[in-house]
Symmetry: C2
Subunit: 249 residues, 2 copies
């Protein structure tokens, strides 16, 4: 079954890896903005957005992979003049991401809030990161900030959800992102969450990027689901929910 990796970082992947993803059935992926060292200036963010929305999309296409670029300021990429990167997002963004909270510091909350307001104003889908550390506590804070922004729930995926956070996320009407990757969810854990909560509110992703040896986890999860569930249901998390969320055809 063709599938959609709703959150990865193509900038960390070589072209033979992007090709391997496409050959495994992952024909569509959202490539999220992220810079692996904290930028010293907003122009590093803007140039990264320019690279992501032009060069990376072309590179994906050469590999047989349709890349949807998401631009935004990640909580680990906040530079002093971060506000100066917003106008580029406002003028050019189609998907806002990866945004969210890492430590839930004051500046992180401000950067997230401002970007959610922007997304609300422009009616753009948002990919919202939750961290590994203090997962439950920071996810609560993320949900509070997103609620306060007043953005439509259908525009927001709360990402890297776990069995401990998923109920809170979908009860409030947001999409929950299941990230299948060593150190996050295993294929079995993702399957078990879907078995418990149904297929309506979920999207799958790998978050694969600069340091990950595994990049086919969405295809592997879809395969495992196909062995146990109705193909109509599987198709929802494999591709349809993601297309709805990101307004793609």
């Amino acid at each position: 079954m063709e599938c959609f990796d709703t959150h990865m970082h193509s900038e960390g992947k070589g072209i033979t890896e992007l090709k391997a993803m496409a050959e495994a059935g992952i024909k569509l992926a959202v490539s999220c903005a992220y810079y692996p060292v904290t930028p010293s200036h907003s122009s590093t963010l803007v140039d990264m957005f320019r690279k992501l929305t032009t060069f990376e999309v072309e590179r994906g296409s050469k590999a047989g992979l349709r890349l949807i670029p998401a631009v935004g300021i990640h909580p680990r990429c906040i530079c002093e003049d971060w506000q100066n990167a917003l106008s580029w997002i406002e003028e050019n963004g189609k998907v806002v991401g990866e945004i969210g909270l890492e430590t839930a510091s004051e500046v992180e909350v401000e950067v997230l809030s401002v970007q959610l307001e922007l997304a609300k104003k422009l009616d753009l889908p948002c990919i919202v990161h939750t961290p590994k550390k203090n997962k439950l506590e920071v996810t609560e804070k993320v949900l509070e900030v997103v609620d306060r922004s007043g953005i439509g729930e259908e525009l927001v995926v709360i990402d890297h959800a776990t069995s401990g956070t998923v109920e809170k996320i979908i009860k409030r009407g947001f999409w929950a992102g299941l990230t299948v990757q060593p150190g996050k969810l295993s294929v079995e854990e993702a399957v078990s969450i879907l078995e418990n909560y149904g297929f309506e509110s979920f999207v799958l992703n790998s978050d694969t990027g600069f340091n990950d040896f595994e990049m086919l986890t969405v295809a592997e999860t879809v395969k495992a689901l196909e062995e146990r569930f109705d193909s109509g249901d599987v198709k929802k998390v494999a591709v349809e929910n993601g297309k709805k969320l990101f307004k793609l055809r």
Copy 2:
């Protein structure tokens, strides 16, 4: 035989690709600075240098590949305030690259000259690019600029040399870089150049980066050389010349 890829762009490669290089015997590589869209501001260059000298070196190490970062302003990466990136190179650089000429415009010549002067002052090795287009003419111009700088020949590799440019390069005492990659030299062409000119003045590289499907060409070339030449000679281009040029142990 272990070998040394003296010019690649690790930022364009995924970690499984870096690992494949190491597994093919390429245990050592120079990773050159390059940004795939023209930077809007010098801080994009500086942040890229920071990424290359920290994050990329660690990523190489995870993959079993020792990466030597080269920092410099590529002729296709010249932003308006490029001078502001020089102090970072001066304070932190160990190898200067990728520098050189693409169209040989006035500003390109200035950026190359200033960086050669810096390398001369600091006694640092330099990787100097020559373009595909107008190869012969622009290589002549590169040689003229390098000569004028007064930098020691033993510190300079004139890269992407071809059968048409190699004689001019080595006659003046510079190292010649043979880049084995589709669109540049084939394995056979590189072998034939070495057969004609000997092994003393050459280093091998792939220039593999963001868009290249082939990344093992240095190992392939070394293997082809081993079938025909004395292993002492092969070792010179496989690893020893590069270590001498870049002052490595």
